[in-house]
Symmetry: C2
Subunit: 513 residues, 2 copies
């Protein structure tokens, strides 16, 4: 495998703003709520039977649901980025907060970063003016005595560590981190609401295993522990929208709710729901990459609407292909021509952005642009979605080694020739689904049909263009080194939490896919 | 098998009314909208990704969603009742319209009857004052020249036949029957709205294969042909609610929307969606028996609420067990102590009704009564649902003979030891799911857990009580005879559509299960 993780630039391209839609002379505020491993089917408004997300459901009623929005990868980074990862976001990538700064935006990140944790990669070096959160996910990889626990930062200084100072009882699923992240988001809004345009990226990670919620949410969900995390995040959504209303900036703020990939289905109590979709996180089936999407902007986005625009939260992990993908907004390493469009700034002209400005779909949900979205697993182009069609060039469910450990990305699902336990090459005869008719990818379109023949024609064309124009990014996450772990984050001295740094010994990381 | 279809009395027991909740001195009107093979997941408000049911979604926003409402059987009658079936609804069963007549209600049925088609079984002999529709489903069994096509009745006279006078183009899925059924329902409301209380059972069958919609709906759905049927039915829901509003009786009318079983999954374009649930019609998994449920009564039922009350549309197909089941309302052969409660009439005292009056859950959605619901396939008790738990005593997916014909009740699903291709007895060690945590029945609760042990204790008790008190009904659908087919329905003379009746030759029907 040439580079397990591709260049990061492509992931920087997202966001939704539209200057023409804004009625105010000031460019709109942007709040992006990015969940971690929350599934499409976890929202009441997307059919979760227990309906435990009243704030999200109300947000959807007041805004727009994007039904066909894909993540750029079926997992978060797209390789998760543990503490011993050397690389991170390169300086020459222009992130959304850097773009928005041209128009006077103040940008805040609350929650998980995950774009590299060495000092040069941290949020305040990449356009954010404020940060409260952690560079890595709370799942660790370590919560022990031999290696450092994940630090929590306030701006550029560590203010403690998970499991030590910021407690997570991972056995019982209890932590007040979501409460802290919600409070920090509301405080950011309180500070910034009347000062100028702001961008807030709220990226709590309570729905990533081991899931957690505050003590007061224990036992409050019919869905168990995972549901408690969802309920607290839903309450956080309500608190953030309330803060916007309280400052009367709701009519000048675009709020986007989404997730970084499909729900992980490997365990019942630590994973969410992908609704009617096939499989979950790690896979390129609908359950792995179709994300919840709600866009809210009272007075601008028409209430109670749906767009079926096929879109991607980001551009693809392999870039740059101008025609590749329609894009919205999205992940924590966000910027976008769409964002730029809204704020009235130009994206840099020295690079190709393969995303599209789709803001018009927000104000005119019935509009649809026909664009292919390319679905990757690692470096491999697995499938293409375009219009109602989805074509699998390769299929792969759970690696045998994982299955043997009792891990299953597709529990309960078995579609012959599709949920294959090994990477299976279908490029000679791709498998076609109409995922509007068949969102569960259960009924392959017959190879003999006209639809199939036309789809293959289309596919060949767009894949050829994609591959010809593709310039694979520089891999950033290939090298690991124990020495880069959080032994001595800035601020550790004051806390007396500095640890001795071991000898540097870089090695090629071994990423599972 | 002793009697493939059990006595009908039990299915007569449903409906939801509550006298105390009515603010008017006149008892409330009742409209029950009963779909045919429409799945839980076919509604936008239940997460169908294409969101093509704006009227149902609005009805849900203005009313209450019942998330855990079961049908009495995983198919419609619970055996489908073709034309050669001799039996039907016995005279001593008291149907909802007969009960309501005591309070001056006028009752109308628009759509499919399916309670027997010989003259003595037809709707006007069993309490309905008006009927426009057919005694059998439009799927036939016959649309040919050798046996009679299904007649369509207006009150007690045939006014034509499917495929001859009432056209259904089953190859292209085109028919205006839903439009006719909607018009007839609206006309019934127009006639009755200002005359006294009325009961309307609207039972169109366009979502039963072969599905159909009016010409003007062709090509209007992202979901294909099935979606066109849903869209037209959704428009019908809107037209009916509009008629209630126009006559200003919406505040004195309970409207219930539900279906007769889960969506049939045997084909992509002729079947619907069961959302996150396992399998479909014919099975006792959630996909086979969890039905959509919306209750609408402006001013009485609180808007935008959900009840998780475990309930059954009807009492069980094997009766009478007083404690057996919480019940709502439902099918075309409807009556109920709940209905009686609302209208202020007593159910007959000479028989045991195994349903419960659950009307309080409509006005107080947070209330929940802990009652087991027993899930049967044919005569066999397959599973029990109580609270969040569901216990499978037997499992059975698709019979091998059907699989060999390419028919699959569980396409894409494979839960080891659960979606068994033959009836599999688990009574020695039942399989337990928490279907609130795990609506897809994918993660069996460990046999070693406390939850499991407690559930088995509970199960043994309720099953024992159920079986002790159970008095199996008299089978009504065992005998078949070509002579009882629709050769000469009343009214055929005027239409010149009478056919010669063959010699009577009764035989035991052979029902697939």
């Amino acid at each position: 495998m040439k580079g397990v993780v591709l260049g990061l630039r492509a992931w920087l391209v997202a966001g939704v703003l539209i200057a023409t839609a804004s009625t105010s002379s000031q460019p709109p505020n942007v709040v992006i709520m990015l969940m971690d491993d929350m599934g499409w089917g976890d929202l009441g408004c997307n059919g979760e039977p227990n309906r435990e997300t009243p704030n999200l459901d109300q947000m959807a009623r007041e805004g727009l649901i994007a039904s066909s929005m894909y993540t750029a990868a079926p997992l978060c980074s797209p390789s998760y980025t543990p503490q011993n990862m050397v690389g991170g976001i390169p300086d020459d990538e222009v992130l959304l907060p850097e773009l928005l700064a041209q128009k006077g935006y103040t940008s805040g990140l609350v929650g998980k970063w995950h774009l590299g944790h060495q000092p040069q990669y941290l949020p305040l070096k990449h356009g954010f003016d404020f940060w409260f959160g952690a560079p890595n996910c709370h799942f660790g990889p370590y919560a022990d005595l031999l290696t450092p626990n994940i630090p929590v930062f306030l701006n550029d200084s560590m203010v403690g560590r998970y499991y030590e100072d910021f407690h997570i009882d991972k056995n019982n699923g209890v932590s007040n981190m979501t409460q802290l992240f919600t409070d920090a988001a509301v405080e950011f809004i309180n500070r910034e609401a009347n000062r100028g345009p702001f961008f807030l990226l709220w990226a709590p990670d309570a729905t990533h295993a081991p899931t957690y919620a505050s003590e007061k949410y224990r036992g409050t969900s019919r869905r168990g522990r995972y549901g408690e995390a969802v309920r607290e995040l839903d309450a956080g959504v309500g608190a953030i929208l309330d803060a916007l209303r309280a400052h009367q900036v709701d009519n000048n703020t675009l709020v986007v709710f989404t997730s970084d990939n499909g729900a992980a289905l490997v365990s019942k109590y630590n994973g969410g729901s992908n609704g009617p979709f096939l499989c979950g996180k790690q896979t390129t089936f609908e359950g792995g990459m179709r994300a919840p999407g709600i866009f809210w902007w009272p007075g601008v986005i028409p209430a109670g609407t749906t767009t079926h625009q096929v879109s991607s939260e980001n551009t693809q992990p392999s870039q740059p292909y101008e025609e590749a993908v329609a894009e919205w907004c999205g992940r924590r390493w966000i910027c976008s021509r769409t964002a730029a469009q809204l704020a009235g700034v130009q994206t840099p002209q020295d690079r190709i952005y393969d995303g599209l400005a789709l803001a018009k779909s927000l104000t005119h949900p019935q509009l649809e642009v026909q664009r292919p979205v390319f679905l990757y697993r690692g470096n491999r182009l697995m499938a293409v979605r375009r219009g109602p069609l989805k074509i699998h060039l390769w299929t792969f469910s759970t690696p045998t080694a994982e299955l043997q450990k009792g891990i299953n990305f597709c529990p309960g699902a078995e579609v012959p020739n599709v949920t294959t336990p090994t990477p299976t090459n279908h490029t000679a005869r791709p498998i076609l689904f109409n995922v509007e008719v068949d969102p569960g990818e259960r009924y392959p379109v017959s190879h003999l049909s006209r639809t199939y023949k036309d789809a293959i024609q289309m596919l060949k064309k767009v894949v050829k263009e994609h591959e010809e124009k593709l310039v694979p990014g520089e891999p950033q996450l290939n090298w690991c080194d124990q020495a880069v772990m959080h032994w001595r984050p800035h601020g550790c001295e004051a806390l007396k939490e500095c640890l001795p740094i071991p000898q540097s010994n870089p090695y090629l990381c071994d990423w599972p896919h």
